[in-house]
Amino acid sequence: MQQVADVKPTAPTQAISERTFADLLTPLIEPGFRLALAMLHDAQAAEDAVQEASFTAWRKLDRMRDPGRLRPWFLGVVANQCRNARRRKWVADVSLGLPERLSVVSDEEERSLRGADLRRAVARLRHQDRLVVVLYFYLDMPLEDIAAVAGSSVGAMRARLYRSIRKLRPDLDLQEALG
């Protein structure tokens, strides 16, 4: 599948100043970090991925087709960095620091267990499925932007999202899940 960061240049390279680049990039770091964290389940690895994505973004900024869609394009670069990072170090079975079972469970502990269970389920998804789930549910992005991040069509993203929900919550109604 073609990634946004891999698109061919369609406009001549235009050098921009460090200040302009910093102004463009700063509001994208926080969502980029959240995406990386949800994808990698490791705060340090997530920060590294965003850092590398920032430099990659500067080098490939002239390849961006639509300057108005900088956010999905940058998140696409982050997603590629996450995929490369997982290739270098497999972190799917990351320990979340929580016991599998607790003998006495309070409400707070039960909420934590459910959260850990959900994170573990998301971590077990394939890269593209996990990306769609994180972007849609955690970063609250519309399918149009998700398609831009993944370099795919809206229909394909919708189908992938449905399949991923089924994997996460087989007993959950789709409309309820999407609500």
Binding site: E18, F21, A22, L25, T26, P27, I29, E30, F33, R34, L37, A38, H41, A43, E47, V50, Q51, S54, F55, W58, L96, R111, S112, R114, G115, A116, L118, R119, V122, V133, V134, F137, Y138, D140, I165, L168, R169, L172, E176, A177, G179
Partner: protein, 248 residues
């Protein structure tokens, strides 16, 4: 609780604070970019001198190839044009293809010697010959002769000779003997091969001091068997001339 809320909650509860993160990441990226641009500017400054060096190297390579090719070509030309075995083989082949135009006297009385030049040498020019001393062997008699020219001639000179009555070819031995080997003998204690042709190379004529009075001079040895008739005819073929003289 919706799935969206559950996922938000699940990841937010493990997400560290992002306070200061954007500024830190952007500052690091900008520092990297500035370093990258410095390296680019350095490369840009080096590009011109490096391009010049590359251009000089390229020109040197091209010139080297051209000069080398020319030298190789000249060397091959020199080797192919150098005399092989005393003369231009293709010209010699053309001379050898010329027919022998010897007289056919019926009797010894019909044999007419000559022509001679003013010095009494055989030949009408440009090449002349004088007879010299002899050596005897069990096979026959060898004459140590001298051929010479007083004007410039070029290319190989071919000499063939024949007994006018026995029709046997006169043989040649020594330095200028050429053509097929027809026999072997020992002359003055030296083993020699008898050949049917004599070829003079005008680029390698003798430079003996006592012969310096001639433009070209070639001492040579011709042999006739004991059964020879005493009458021989000689044909000399060169580039642009052909002559025959007879000795009786």
């Amino acid at each position: 609780m919706s799935l969206r809320s559950q996922i938000h909650s699940a990841f937010d509860e493990v997400a560290p604070s992002t306070f200061g993160l954007p500024e830190r990441v952007v500052q690091t990226a900008v520092t990297e970019i500035q370093g990258h641009r410095r390296r680019e500017r350095l490369m840009l400054r080096l590009r011109v001198p490096l391009s010049l060096v590359a251009a000089f190297v390229l020109i040197a390579l091209v010139v080297g190839v051209l000069i080398g090719g020319k030298l190789l070509h000249d060397w091959n030309l020199f080797r192919s044009s150098a005399p092989a075995g005393g003369g231009d083989q293709s010209v010699l082949a053309q001379l050898e293809a010329r027919p022998l135009n010897f007289p056919t006297p019926a009797t010894h009385g019909d044999c007419m010697p000559g022509p001679y030049n003013s010095a009494g040498s055989f030949g009408k020019g440009p090449l002349y010959a004088d007879g010299g001393s002899t050596s005897s062997t069990s096979w026959g008699l060898y004459y140590h002769n001298l051929a010479y020219a007083e004007t410039h001639i070029s290319g190989p000179v071919l000499i063939r000779a024949m007994d006018l009555f026995t029709r046997e070819r006169v043989v040649f031995v020594g330095r200028y003997a050429a053509g097929p080997v027809v026999g072997q003998d020992t002359v003055d204690g030296v083993a020699v091969e008898q050949r049917t042709e004599l070829v003079f190379d005008t680029s390698q004529a003798s430079n003996d001091s006592y012969l310096s009075q001639y433009k070209f001079a070639w001492p040579f040895t011709a042999g006739v068997p004991k059964s020879w008739s005493g009458s021989t005819a000689w044909q000399i073929d060169g580039v642009g001339f052909s002559e025959v003289f007879v000795g009786c």
